[in-house]
């Protein structure tokens, strides 16, 4: 599934974009990024962060945000302005990225619903990672849209809890971001 799939028109003007910010992993860097979004009134739909190169001390922050094209342009410019920022990439505009999200989905039930849940999970290539007589925890990976669909299908089948990682993104082909 390509980035193109997340370019959902939320309204006439608002678009959803996936951005990656490569930053120096210094104290408070996540607070700077998050504070920029809250301070300037931008949305964060999901956010994923982890150190990706311990030797170079760089962390990669992937943010799904929404706004008008003007606002998205401002968000990118403001992120580039932060002192610890190495690079900012907009996967949605560039249309060259792959994005994935992982979720853990807990379903509780017995009988027919339990069987149906397992059958659905199989169709979505979700894998049970914890099983009891009355519950499953499924691990599912895919686009946020796919996870939304899976969670919706599990709801009538005894959905108890959902934990999502937010989106991770990377470019296609041999190059780095």
């Amino acid at each position: 599934m390509t980035m193109h799939d997340t370019k959902i028109k939320l309204s006439d003007e608002t678009e959803r974009h996936t951005l990656t910010v490569l930053v120096d992993n210094e104290a408070g860097v996540l607070a700077r990024v998050v504070g920029l979004f809250s301070g300037r009134g931008y949305n964060i739909e999901s956010l994923t962060v982890a150190e990706v190169d311990p030797m170079a001390r760089t962390s990669r922050i992937t943010i799904v945000t929404s706004g008008t094209p003007d606002v998205i342009e401002q968000i990118e410019a403001q992120l580039r302005r932060l002192v610890p920022t190495h690079k900012v990439t907009n996967w949605t505009s560039a249309d060259t990225g792959i994005e994935r999200e992982m979720a853990l989905v807990k379903v509780s039930g017995t009988g027919e619903k339990r069987v149906e849940a397992l059958r659905m999970a199989d169709a979505f290539r979700a894998r049970p990672v914890d099983t009891t007589h009355s519950s499953f925890v499924f691990e599912i990976t895919g686009s946020p849209h796919k996870i939304d669909s899976f969670v919706d299908l599990m709801r009538p089948l005894g959905l108890v809890d959902v934990s999502r990682t937010g989106v991770a993104a990377i470019s296609r082909g041999p190059e780095a971001m």
């Binding site: 104290a27 504070g35 580039r80």
Partner: protein
């Protein structure tokens, strides 16, 4: 580090002679590194206030020569003083305050400097590392609190990082778009010893501001200028921040083109107000000709300004028929408020130098007949005389007071600071500046209480100059404790209060928008400013009548001491011309008789 080690090092540091600084193979305490870094960065003045968490730095400061410390009376005053120092010299302002309240009191000044792009390096003490996070005495999360009001900030946890961070702090504060930075230094780090490295050894991993213009954009810009029929230069604080050469190049570009020039509040002085191309300030209280030229132009050349809401008025109706060139050192300002046709991300000096060079090299000529017609239109707008007012023989009009202050001081080496409100706008409209770095005012944040401490910083840098804080009676009370600082350091600043017994701009808006219900805008229980000046050891003067104004101003100038001048002015006067909230540039009101119906949408705006 345990307490015994810390104590031992403290004692060793105290015992060491000041020659220890910079010696001993670059090994020194954190406190000594701070002083050494300041020296290596060419710092000669710092503004500060001691406290428990910065005592080691104050101790190191005590043992060196060559750095003058100005003891303020409140940390807000220290930051504004450093801003005044920075804006009048082009050098960074340096502040030293303690943890907790020392840091929180600095927050207004930091935000002010961030909004107006003023380079500051603010050093804050912090509780010792092992107490961080324990709600210790005078502890606060300084880097957390100051993160949104600084360009960057650091908490230094290891003495080995300290000298690098200090040099990075100066680099980040002064390069690219300037701004304030905070370095928070725990007390134990100040006592620890480590290796000092000089500024040359520091190269930032990520911070590399772009300052060179794209030459293709410069070529297009001069082509657009040559083709323009109704051009206008709209200049801002970026020209001042870029240094005096940018102002000189702007003048040269106007020599070459003959285009009219207007400026934001922040940019006054970059272009001489005495020159015929000068239209006056633009925006909410700008001149009729400046705002109409902006509205009707076919080419807007924005140089180091950021389309602030005080400048644009209603964005939807902002200069609807023009092509726009936007030069800014900060890429995030491009297309933020107004979409432009040609962005140039660069330092103003470098970009202007190339514009002048390409204009000459490509032998560009202006469209002379069109420009002549454009000037005729501008001259017609000028006949409105939008800064006019009706003078009085019995009561001092605030406009008259500024006019006389200007007339009696303009031949001197004069610097002006202001507080915030009507007096600030009258000063901006009527005190004409010919050179950059002469005008210090809180533009973006609009900080009442800015003017007096800023004036002290200016006077510190320019001991022989005439430094005037044009003030209001409400604003001046916000940082007036700094009169005591003026006395201590023999800083003969002149505080010229336009005393109308109101928070005048609040009252003006209540008159226009809130049915003349003057809710809490009357300055009741005012002090006797003349006696107050006396109590502070300064000189108090008062003028009640227009006839005595000149003599009193002369007296203010001639006495070489700090003066508090209580100029009693007409309490009912309003500041015109004005673009009401939510209106366009060509929809100005010139006087109360103009009606000026303000829309409901306009009332929602600030």
């Amino acid at each position: 580090m345990d307490k015994d080690d810390t104590l031992q090092q403290a004692l060793a540091a105290q015992a060491a002679p000041d020659a220890m600084l910079g010696a001993m193979n670059g090994t020194m305490t954190g406190a000594q590194m701070v002083i050494q870094a300041l020296r290596d960065q060419g710092v000669t003045h710092i503004f500060g206030y001691p406290g428990g968490a910065v005592l080691p730095i104050y101790d190191a400061l005590f043992q060196v020569e060559g750095i003058t410390h100005v003891l303020v009376r409140h940390e807000q005053g220290a930051v504004h003083a450093a801003e005044g120092y920075a804006r009048s010299t082009g050098k960074p302002g340096v502040v030293l305050v303690t943890s907790g309240p020392g840091a929180t009191n600095a927050v207004t000044g930091l935000t002010d400097a961030l909004m107006d792009s003023i380079p500051l390096v603010v050093l804050t003490g912090q509780v010792p590392s092992h107490l961080i996070g324990t709600d210790a005495f005078q502890e606060c999360d300084t880097v957390g609190i100051t993160r949104p009001c600084t360009k960057h900030n650091w908490l230094v946890k290891h003495v080995g990082d300290l000298s690098r961070v200090l040099h990075e702090a100066f680099q980040i504060a002064t390069t690219g778009r300037p701004g304030p930075v905070v370095v928070d230094i725990p007390k134990d780090v100040q006592f620890q010893t480590g290796s000092y490295i000089g500024p040359q050894a520091v190269h930032h991993r990520t911070y590399k501001p772009k300052t060179d213009p794209d030459l293709g954009a410069i070529v297009r810009a001069v082509e657009m200028m040559a083709a323009a029929k109704k051009p206008v230069f709209y200049t801002g604080g970026g020209i001042i921040n870029s240094g005096p050469e940018a102002s000189a190049l702007l003048r040269e570009l106007v020599d070459l083109t003959g285009f009219p020039v207007t400026s934001t509040l922040m940019g006054l002085g970059a272009f001489p107000a005495a020159r015929p191309e000068w239209l006056g300030m633009l925006g909410m209280h700008g001149t009729w000709e400046a705002n109409h030229a902006m509205h009707d132009c076919d080419l807007m050349i924005c140089l180091g300004a950021r389309f602030d809401d005080r400048v644009t008025g209603l964005v939807k109706k902002f200069s609807p028929d023009s092509k726009k060139i936007h030069l800014d050192i900060d890429a995030s300002q491009i297309n933020k408020i107004v979409r432009v046709d040609l962005p140039i991300v660069a330092d103003a000096t470098k970009a202007l130098r190339e514009m002048v060079r390409f204009w000459k090299a490509q032998k560009h000529k202006v469209d002379a007949p069109a420009l002549k017609e454009w000037w005729q239109q501008i001259d017609h707008w000028r006949t409105k005389k939008s800064l006019g007012y009706r003078n009085s023989e019995t009561i001092i009009k605030p406009q008259y007071a500024i006019d006389r202050l200007y007339a009696l001081t303009k031949h001197r080496d004069v610097y002006v600071t202001t507080e915030v409100g009507q007096h600030q706008m009258w000063a901006a409209q009527r005190f004409h500046f010919q050179e950059p770095n002469r005008w210090m005012t809180s533009g973006g944040l609009g900080t009442m209480g800015y003017g007096l401490p800023a004036a002290l910083g200016v006077q510190m840098a320019h001991p022989d100059a005439l430094v005037i804080d044009i003030a209001g009676e409400a604003s001046i009370q916000m940082c007036m404790q700094e009169m005591s600082t003026a006395l201590q350091y023999d800083l003969p600043v002149k505080i010229f209060i336009l005393n109308n017994e109101y928070m005048g701009m609040v009252r003006q808006w209540q008159e226009l928008l809130h049915g003349k219900r003057y809710s809490h805008s009357y300055s009741e229980a005012l002090p006797d400013f003349v006696k107050l000046a006396d109590a502070f050891g300064c000189v108090g003067l008062r003028a009640d009548k227009p006839s005595e104004l000149d003599d009193k101003i002369q007296e203010m100038i001639s006495v070489r001491r700090p003066v508090l001048f209580d100029c009693r002015v007409d309490p009912t006067e309003n500041c015109y011309p004005m673009i009401p909230s939510g209106a366009a540039h060509n929809d100005m009101i010139l006087s109360p008789d103009d009606g000026g119906e303000i829309s409901d949408a306009g009332k929602m705006l600030v």
